[in-house]
């Protein structure tokens, strides 16, 4: 008999404890983040997709189309073609990054001998179709300029690419 009563009291106690826990939570601030309206601060060192950095003086890509990044990429996500600018400097004519394949490993950035690549801090990579996830040079330059705190295209005279580049 006394063990039954002890049992009942013990369960009653645990029920009361449970309710105290939930009511305490009730008056706490909710942790929900209202995504499109609010965003969480990104973690230090967060990595998004690779981007092409811009030369702040000329507004051209820093990239020299050497191809080291494409070779380093384990997934063949980078495809590029080079060309020569009027001043003899090599520039990429075409630079495509296939984000459906990229695994955000950072190997391309490490491979680049000209420090022309950097990982962005962008995490909103959404698209209605696969094509939307294939980033072309203007997309990459815009994202890269954003990482450098610039806006692309830069307000400098020298244009980035000319038409001859298409076949280079």
């Amino acid at each position: 008999m006394s063990s039954i009563i002890a049992d009942i009291l013990r369960s009653a106690n645990s029920i009361v404890q449970g309710h105290l826990v939930t009511i305490r939570e009730f008056f706490q601030k909710p942790v929900t983040e209202q995504y499109p309206d609010e965003r969480l601060p990104r973690m230090e060192g967060y990595r998004g997709h690779p981007t092409l950095l811009v030369e702040p003086e000329t507004g051209r890509p820093k990239c020299t189309a050497c191809g080291a990044c494409a070779r380093a990429c384990p997934n063949n996500a980078i495809e590029l073609e080079g060309m020569k600018a009027e001043d003899g400097r090599r520039l990429p004519a075409k630079y495509r990054l296939d984000m459906t394949r990229c695994l955000v490993c950072n190997l391309c950035v490490e491979a680049c001998p000209f420090d022309a690549l950097a990982m962005s801090r962008e995490y909103e990579l959404v698209s209605w179709d696969r094509e939307g996830l294939i980033l072309d040079m203007p997309d990459l330059l815009r994202a890269g300029a954003k990482e450098q705190g610039l806006t692309y295209p830069l307000p400098v005279k020298a244009p980035v690419v000319e038409k001859e580049g298409e076949k280079a």
Binding site: T22, E25, F26, K29, V31, T32, Q34
Partner: protein, 321 residues
């Protein structure tokens, strides 16, 4: 012939229907409260601020859904069950005193009426469970019936103790008799009533007949659209009426204290405090097993309810209440 009484009854009946339908806002309230208990925000998107229009969105969604009747169902049972569920939920309000004169029909057998009408809902569970011709539904229905046995007896016994104190079966007289709220005189009776009432409502921790994690949705598995909404609405209507009965029987109904508010305001405050507590219980406790519920009902609630009756008799003898 004098038409006024008839007209007045119709108006009162309509007011009750409006009150019950207005309680559909509890759909939103419960989701908000559930969210807060889990440190979420709950619905936020439909209607600013705080998603107040969620109920309307839910109802429009349910109204626009197809009304599916399974091919092998017992058609009449299946179609009637939601209405049978909703009707007692409405009928209970007939005898509940919202204020000293604000009662549709102050039956002199109010307490008996309530216990008769509320246990009606099990009938609808059984109709829907059997009529659906689905094993999960019928298991839910069996559970509802087994459950009824275990909670109905302590429920009624704890109501009897209240009647003993008040000396009347009319709810309004019971309220008038409570110069001290009855919960002070018989706390055990109130606890028994509360637990049995939550079991009667089929809400967690006693939602065995629904038991999403075991029985899909129990007795209402096969229901969709507006028929399902009727089950849903009657659950909320029952929650409010059970809270109102608790407030009336044990907390002095429309009687106020300290603040000079109108009686109906006092009544609603007490009622919705109980609605909140029932939701609080729901979002705290896990579901019990059927044998645990039967054990609780027969081995704990029933003796305690009997003890409470003895205690009430003693009170009556000693203090001549």
């Amino acid at each position: 012939m004098d038409w006024w009484p008839l007209l007045w009854s119709i108006i009162k009946a309509l007011l009750i229907v409006v009150f019950v339908l207005a309680n559909a806002f509890l759909i939103w309230v419960e989701r908000k409260i559930a969210g807060r208990f889990q440190r979420r925000l709950g619905p936020m998107r439909v209607g600013r601020p705080h998603g107040w229009a969620q109920t309307f969105a839910d109802l429009i969604k349910l109204l626009s859904k197809e009304d599916v009747v399974p091919g092998t169902a017992e058609k009449w049972l299946f179609l009637l069950a939601p209405i049978v569920a909703f009707l007692p939920a409405l009928l209970v309000y007939m005898v509940i005193p919202f204020g000293p004169t604000w009662v549709v029909n102050d039956l002199n057998i109010g307490v008996i009426f309530i216990s008769a009408v509320t246990s009606f809902s099990v009938l609808s569970f059984f109709m829907s469970g059997w009529g659906s011709n689905n094993k999960y539904s019928v298991m839910g229905a069996f559970r509802a019936a087994a459950q009824l046995m275990s909670y109905e007896v302590p429920l009624v016994l704890s109501m009897i103790a209240v009647v003993m104190l008040a000396g009347s079966l009319s709810l309004n007289d019971i309220v008038k008799a409570q110069s001290i709220p009855f919960v002070v005189l018989q706390p055990l009776g109130f606890l028994t009533f509360f637990i049995a009432a939550v079991a009667e409502l089929n809400r967690t921790p006693f939602d065995l007949a629904e038991a999403e994690s075991e029985l899909v949705a129990g007795y209402n598995t096969e229901y969709s659209g507006m028929r399902w909404a009727f089950f849903f609405l009657s659950e909320y209507a029952n929650t409010v009426s059970a809270s109102a009965i608790m407030a009336t029987l044990f907390f002095g109904g429309w009687r106020g204290f300290l603040l000079p508010l109108p009686p109906v305001v006092w009544f609603l405050i007490k009622t919705y405090i109980f609605v909140f507590i029932i939701m609080w219980v729901r979002w705290t406790l896990p579901r019990v097993r059927i044998d645990q519920l039967l054990n609780l009902g027969w081995k704990l609630l029933l003796p305690v309810a009997l003890l409470n009756i003895a205690w009430t008799g003693l009170l009556g003898l000693v203090f001549k209440i």
